[in-house]
Amino acid sequence: MSSGEKYTAAAYGIVFLTILVYVVIIAAKLSRLERETAELAELARSRRTDV
Amino acid sequence: MSYLSDVLTLARKDLRLELRARDTLPAMLLFVVSILVVFHFALPAGADDDAARGLLWIALVFTALLGLARAWAPERESNALEGLVLAPIDRSAIWLGKAVAVFVFLAAVEVVALLAFAAFFAPVDGATILGVLLADIGICAVGTLLAAMAAASRTRELILPLLFLPLAIPLVVGGVGASIAPDPGGYLGFLALYDALFSILCWASFEYVVTE
């Protein structure tokens, strides 16, 4: 591979990597949201049984 | 012209406070002379006058920052800003009054700074003085507003340079250009353009910085 090819691959790779990092962030956020909604569902369930 | 008299009253109040307390002005003076002395040791022996003129602008910007960090201190310490905002005056007058007061301090310090620079490094020409005056307008207009923003934040003095320096880059370009270019007209025009644009923006938006 010539150096020009390497740099071009690196430039496109960085864009790709940025989007992958974004996927990781979204994944972390999703799992947090899952945890929170589970807590809230639990809370709602216990409330229903209380009444 | 009640707007203008409001502005002058507010500016006069700041000047009188400073004359009584003498907090900021001596600090700025000492700072600018110290920094010029530091620059003497930072410049290698072969450096020409243009390099020194570039450093002069760094000294001026940082001295201005020192003054701006204290700009809203009187209001903050006595919680007077809320009162001012509620007072029956146009809110932009509060900004303009403060900017005028800061301008007076800065100009006073710069008289000494330019004299010291001329004595230590290189002669100062008319274009430089005009450039400094024009840059001061921009520094005071933008800096006063940013200082009001910083005063609302938790990190106050820490954040002001971060907010101010990117906005000061065009002023440094215009100022350095005016000091060293053989034909400074374009740079002075650019400084005037900066002043006009940002003064209007600050004048129109200050109200939102101090109200909810």
Partner: protein, 230 residues
Amino acid sequence: MSTSSPSNRVPFIAAAAAALVGLAIVFAFFVAPEDADQGISQRIFYFHVPIALTAYACFGWGALKALLLLWKKEERYDLESYVAIHQGTIFGAMTLLTGSIWAKASWGHWWVWDSKQLVLFLVLFLFYSAYFMLRFSIEEGPRRANISAVYALFGVVLIPVSFLAIRLAEDFIHPTTFTRDGPQMTGTMFLTFCIAWVAITTLAYALYRVELVGKRLDENLRELREALTA
């Protein structure tokens, strides 16, 4: 939050972005001819420049939402303005990185002060990084929304002013030794560029909408929690 706008179009926008970016990559590497002067590294241009243009668009969009916030005082504009500027800063960082690689490939240095666009992006990157510092050191509320909005408006004035300043500075810092002329683009090259531009813009818009969905979800959840624990 009662003002949430419909999010059911988000998957469609994201799918369109994916398809367009795929098409742009195919065009950039297989359809567009090789540049005679710069060789393969010229192909960085097809992503670098659209990313830069998109970053400007994000900053502009953020400032527009900021203006709407100050004008109409609706809370949702604060979030929209913030998300747009966040997006713009990420795209700005990508511009700096790809631009730096391009500089290394064409001129042998990781950073060239001669490239006006790169210098401008560095200034903007610093400016908008300070935006986040400012925003996160003010208590949440209308005051923070207002201050963030005013700062965002400063940004759109700073962009042309800085650009002018950087052009002026070139005269005394050092004369330009090599210029990057607007590449002499052939028809196919220009088509590739346009496809890439549309693709990146759609991608940015999709990411913007996804971020907004997430942030609104957070807010709704917080409200729900308050209602349940009250």
